[in-house]
Amino acid sequence: MTMSNQDSHINEDDTDFRTEDAKYFTASQWQLVWWRFRRHRMAMFGGCLLLIMTLMGAFSGFFSPYDGTDRDRYYVLGPPQMIKFWDQKGASFRPFIHGTKTERDPETLAQISIPDPDTRHYLKFFVRGDTYSVLGLFDGNIRLFGVEDTKIHIFGTDDLGRDLYSRTLIATGTSISIGVIGVMLSFVLALIIGGVAGYFGGIIDSVIQRATEIVRVVPVIPLFMGLAAAFPKDWSSTQVYFAMTIVLGLLGWPTLARRIRGHLLSQKNEDYVLAAELAGSKPARIISRHLLPSFTSYIIVDLVITFPYTILAETALSFIGLGLRPPSVSWGILLQDAQNIRAIEQAPWLFIPAGFVVVAVLAFTILGDGLRDAADPYTVSKG
């Protein structure tokens, strides 16, 4: 046999492989996705933004100086207080805010608070403040910053004197958590329903498709109006919170289910699935080992893209009063206070939570875009 000559050629070639190639060749699907994703700077930026937001929302007690129900009688509907490093008295390494004094506004004759340039209140870090609960697990009372003798309101206050910054952070936690829980619930439902429809096809698929269409057609606002009326008045705000989350989840599965079904249908006919069948794999093994991994990255993209919808849905519904109830705090609830002329005219800082919504949705969208591009690391041209 003349094989040996050829053998030696082939073995020689292998030592020509560069070591960087070895990393690439042994890279699992997730590593490839991550490498591709890393190149999208915008998406990485969006991801970081979201991470920061989520952390601040989850640990809102630590990052904010007060809890959201504290009222500052001396600073009602007050504008944001600027943190300064220098004023007419000179520079300072330590950041400070000016104190406030009340005066009568010459036009409206109402009591308003204005900054008093003569007093300085220096910021203190890691102060002891009101107790808060960390993720519902334990209590803490260290807060990131605060001032002595007076209160600091870097986003201003609302018409009850509550610190908007603290409330915004709490709202961030609430809104994002509703988004997460709602989407997770949708996802589990969609996985089961879409999975069954896609894998088995036939009549099962047709029936499920029709059911999906019916659910999708339900108009959301009238439904929520009905639900808002239906939620018992004596439910606590927490109960309403969970109920809303569940309802949002139950409404969100059709789109995801359709996508999952689509992925399954497209992958089912690939050669390697047939190869697995011919190798004697049972359907359960084919689904778990071959089909599911093939579209997990796409599903993650779908999930990331669905988040903003859920968050916006909650925001919008709370905004018009059909969602969460006070004293729950979410972006939508905060924006309720901005719903009038007085807010636009006199207290535009009440719109700051809207900025958070915009940033969150944009960040999710950019992140989703980047993930979508990275999600299929195997689309390289052949030959």
């Binding site: 292998d14 190798a279 004697g280 991994p293």
Partner: protein, 354 residues
């Protein structure tokens, strides 16, 4: 070879696909007769080549032999050990267990490997799915053994398919197909997607593995010359039916069916310092939903007579081991010698004849 007991007997295999909607009033359904009454045998340790052009149904036959498709009619019988196993009668779980005896090597080396599994896992799949080994070490041992035999560096086992070229991937496919020691492997255009210089290596590997293990192959291809190298016997299909089946040497030196002759003379040949001009065959392959009457080839056949349009010819053994389906097979074999092809005229000569 004809005295040995066959490994597989295929009898009047029919696979029809419904197209369009069922006519509600008449209860009729138009069908595409992808495979319409094939009968042949495959013997142990031999390669049966199956040749045909597009629409011939050869891929469908391959899939049917693995029961990846439902049979519309006929029977496929495996003679393994002392048992005769009817493929169509196996239950789903029996079929699953039977898979270790029959395997498939796909055409496209890019889509037939799961990009998210390591090479080791891909090759081990049949062993693990069917529970053929008692321990993970045994699986690893078998995987290593077959990988080495297919000339895959053991380093490769940790890698993912995206690391490899077409030829290497095809070797991974071969390793996967053979790891459970099947008796029969269908090679569905397994070298068609590879570059010419790589094709030869894969064909050689397949032949070596056959010699070592006593495998049988059904080698499906559209390229006659590739099929000819690896096959012991060759069958020619045309629009769902077999037109000729003989040993390789007989088929190439004494083809009886006009279609076979046309196929052979259509190949551009280079041999012994001469370039041969391919002879073209007029017409197109008939629409499988609207087949001609009588002999399916009569619309393009140079020798067709009125009987060809009226009656379909029988599949018969014209000579020992040489089957053909043509009314005039013996007459043609007498009158015509091996297909002669003309030498290609030189460019200058061509201009003169204008």
């Amino acid at each position: 070879m004809t005295d040995k007991k066959p490994l597989i007997t295929v009898n009047e295999l029919k696979i029809h696909f419904p197209i369009g909607k069922k006519n509600m009033w008449k209860g009729e359904q138009s069908v595409v007769k992808a495979v319409d009454g094939l009968s042949f045998q495959v013997f142990p340790s031999e390669t049966l080549g199956l040749v045909g052009e597009s629409g011939s149904g050869k891929t469908t036959v391959g899939r049917a032999m693995l029961r990846a498709l439902r049979l519309t009619g006929g029977a496929i019988t495996f003679h393994i050990g002392n048992q005769d196993i009817q493929l169509a009668n196996l239950s789903n779980s029996e079929l699953r267990k039977f898979r270790s005896h029959i395997q498939l090597i796909f055409q496209d080396p890019y889509s037939s490997l799961n990009p998210r599994m390591t090479v080791r896992d891909i090759i081990a799949e049949p062993l693990e799915a069917l529970g053929l080994c008692s321990s993970r070490e045994e699986v690893d041992e078998k995987v290593r053994a077959i990988a080495e035999r297919c000339k895959l560096n053991l380093e490769y086992l940790r890698r993912f398919p995206h690391a490899f070229s077409g030829g290497q991937r095809q070797r991974i496919c071969i390793a996967r197909a053979l790891v459970c020691d099947p008796e029969f492997v269908v090679c569905d255009e397994s070298v068609s997607a590879l570059d010419v210089s790589i094709q030869a290596e894969i064909l050689n590997l397949l032949q070596d593995l056959q010699d070592e293990r006593g495998l049988s192959y059904l080698f499906i291809a559209h390229d006659l010359s590739v099929v000819s190298h690896i096959s012991d016997r060759v069958a020619v299909m045309y629009v769902g039916r077999l037109v000729e089946l003989a040993t390789r040497d007989r088929l190439f030196n004494h083809p009886m069916h006009p279609y076979t002759r046309a196929l052979m003379s259509a190949i551009p040949k280079v041999s012994k310092g001469v370039v041969f001009k391919p002879e073209s065959l007029d017409g197109e392959i008939p629409n499988p939903a609207k087949l001609p009457s009588g002999c399916l080839f009569h619309t393009r056949c140079k020798f067709s007579q009125s009987v060809c349009e009226a009656e379909p010819p029988l599949w018969r053994e014209a000579e020992p081991g040489h089957f053909v389906s043509c009314h005039f097979a013996e007459d043609l074999a007498e009158k015509l010698s091996a297909p002669q092809t003309q030498k290609k005229p030189k460019r200058a000569d061509r201009k003169e004849t204008q």
